[in-house]
């Protein structure tokens, strides 16, 4: 298991989740959890994914998701889960 958190923030529009999910499926990245909320009028999505099955390295996935986000006008960030775990769990 190699858990990574993907966050998508931006103006809501049609097909954001579809595009991100298609990319993940094509890259053999398994989605473990998705949640979504609106924070101060902005679309906010978080996905927990498992990168154990992909051939791509972390930087490639992060770069590709970033440019995918630019294409649809949202900011997509990839971060390893540990930073959130260490901050919010004892």
């Amino acid at each position: 298991m190699n858990k990574t958190i993907i966050t998508v923030v931006g103006k809501d529009t049609v097909g954001i989740i579809a595009k991100v999910c298609t990319y993940l499926a094509d890259s053999h990245i398994n989605i473990l959890d998705i949640s979504q909320t609106i924070v101060s009028g902005y679309f906010n999505m978080m996905m927990i994914v498992d990168m154990a099955g992909t051939d791509k390295d972390f930087n490639t996935v992060a770069d590709e998701l970033e440019s995918l986000g630019q294409g649809i006008g949202v900011v997509i960030k990839c971060q390893r889960e540990e930073i959130f775990d260490s901050m919010h769990r004892i």
Partner: protein
């Protein structure tokens, strides 16, 4: 499992509140480089540092990428050079050659500072210590990345007043040697009492002789995060205030701990300590003075400031200590003037004087830091200011430091621009009365009694 609120909170700290890891500092022992031949010594130093730290910047950047947390600085600290160069250096120029080597290797590995051009003279000076200290003006004016620190006192040994007096002159000479750059050399020179062996922050970092061959020390930051957290508890009592600071410091420190452990694992170098200091930058919203304002004083320097700083510093430690397996270094709130926009504003508003800053250093690290004073301030006056600050450290069993910048050619009311993380500073007035007879006495101030504490 992590939920979206927690993810959003962490990312807001990073994106909006300037949360970052301020520095990963690799400490490297140079004791095994010692040789009586100066060229051989310089080669040994270059090779050891290059081999040890060649992947430091790359590793730091990769960790930053994977966790989405900025790691602002990657740095190196080395064994105090007075110890390393003693056998080979016969003149101040010989020591300056070592400084040039350090500068060259720091540039080669891509770090932004290298600390340890240092001497530990809290009780007495060897000939090597004296030569190194004499070489500081040349070393700091001919290099870019080398930082120098001199420990002139400790609670166990008292204060070496000969060294204090000498440093008054050296600070002034360093200012003169770098006068075409607004005396920037002095920003890379710190005088300490009770200097820690494992400090990751510049300009005072060096790799103490009590340390392992190599070590990773990490300095966290986050004044903006604390300030934002306190905005939500305005008007509430001290219990709520202190709990909020503690919890925030815990979260900030956990990030530092994670980064330190990752860096240690990837570089194959043991993890040393986390330094819990709240380190400001000139960026808006990254200010310790703004936290003091949020706690309730109109400007840093107003009555109540020392108490507010004392509680802030203590709560940061209480929260941070639990978040990290090893805590060390300076671990306190920094109150540099030029590197903190809120402090600059306080000086410009007339709220903050050198004397109030001195009082504030009694309850926090690290001391009189990045304070620009008139260029015509006398050597003996600078020595007197150093002696006062060292006495606070000695008596209170804490680290104190002085980093004063007498800006040659400028006076009170003018400002000086250092650029980057060093910021800019209004030149502050200095008490004009003389302490010549005091600092010229020579000798040592004896170690204080360790009982009867009042």
């Amino acid at each position: 499992m992590i939920n979206i609120t927690e993810v959003v909170e962490t990312n807001e700290m990073i994106e909006k509140e300037n949360l970052d890891v301020r520095t990963i500092t690799m400490g490297i022992s140079l004791l095994d480089c010692i040789d009586s031949d100066l060229d051989k010594l310089c080669d040994n130093i270059y090779n050891k540092i290059y081999d040890s730290a060649k992947d430091l910047v790359k590793t730091g950047d990769q960790i930053s990428r994977e966790f989405g947390i900025p790691i602002v600085n990657k740095r190196i600290s080395v064994t105090p050079i007075a110890l390393v160069g003693g056998a080979a250096c016969k003149t101040p120029g010989d020591f300056a050659k070592i400084a040039a080597t350090l500068d060259k290797v720091a540039k080669a590995v891509g770090v932004n500072f290298i600390g340890g051009y240092s001497a530990l003279v809290s009780k007495g000076m060897t000939e090597a210590d004296r030569l190194l200290i004499s070489s500081i003006p040349e070393a700091l004016s001919t290099t870019e990345l080398v930082c120098s620190s001199i420990n002139v006192g400790s609670t166990k040994t008292g204060i070496n007043m000969d060294a204090v007096r000498l440093m008054g002159t050296i600070v002034k000479e360093t200012a003169k040697a770098t006068k075409d750059k607004d005396s920037l050399g002095c920003a890379k020179l710190v005088i300490f009492c009770n200097a820690p062996d494992d400090n990751p922050f510049m300009a005072g970092a060096f790799h103490g002789v009590t340390e392992a061959d190599k070590i990773i020390n990490v300095g966290v930051s986050g004044p903006g995060v604390v300030k934002t957290a306190l905005e939500k508890v305005r008007g509430q009592n001290f219990e709520v205030l202190c709990e909020t600071i503690k919890k925030t410091a815990f979260k900030v420190t956990r990030v530092g701990q994670l980064v330190a452990q990752e860096a240690s694992k990837r570089l194959g170098v043991p993890f040393g300590i986390i330094d819990l200091s709240l380190a400001p930058t000139p960026a808006i919203g990254d200010s310790v003075a703004d936290i003091l304002h949020e706690i309730g004083v109109e400007h840093a320097g107003a009555p109540g400031t020392t108490a507010a700083l004392a509680l802030l510093n203590d709560q940061v430690k209480k929260g941070g200590v639990m978040a990290s397996s090893y805590v060390g270094g300076l671990s306190g709130a920094f109150i540099p003037v030029s590197e903190d926009q809120g402090m600059i504003n306080a000086v410009e508003a007339g709220a903050l004087s050198l004397e109030k800053l001195e009082a504030m250093t009694c309850v926090c690290s690290v001391g009189l830091d990045m304070i620009a004073i008139p260029g015509d301030t006398r050597d003996t006056t600078i020595a007197g200011i150093i002696a006062d600050e060292m006495a606070i450290g000695m008596i209170n069993q804490k680290t104190t430091a002085v980093r004063l910048i007498p800006v040659i050619g400028k006076g009170v009311g003018e400002t000086v621009e250092f650029g980057g993380l060093l910021g800019y500073a209004p030149i502050m007035p200095v008490n004009q009365f003389s302490c010549d007879e005091f600092v010229n006495r020579g000798g040592r101030i004896p170690a204080p009694v360790h009982s009867f504490k009042n």
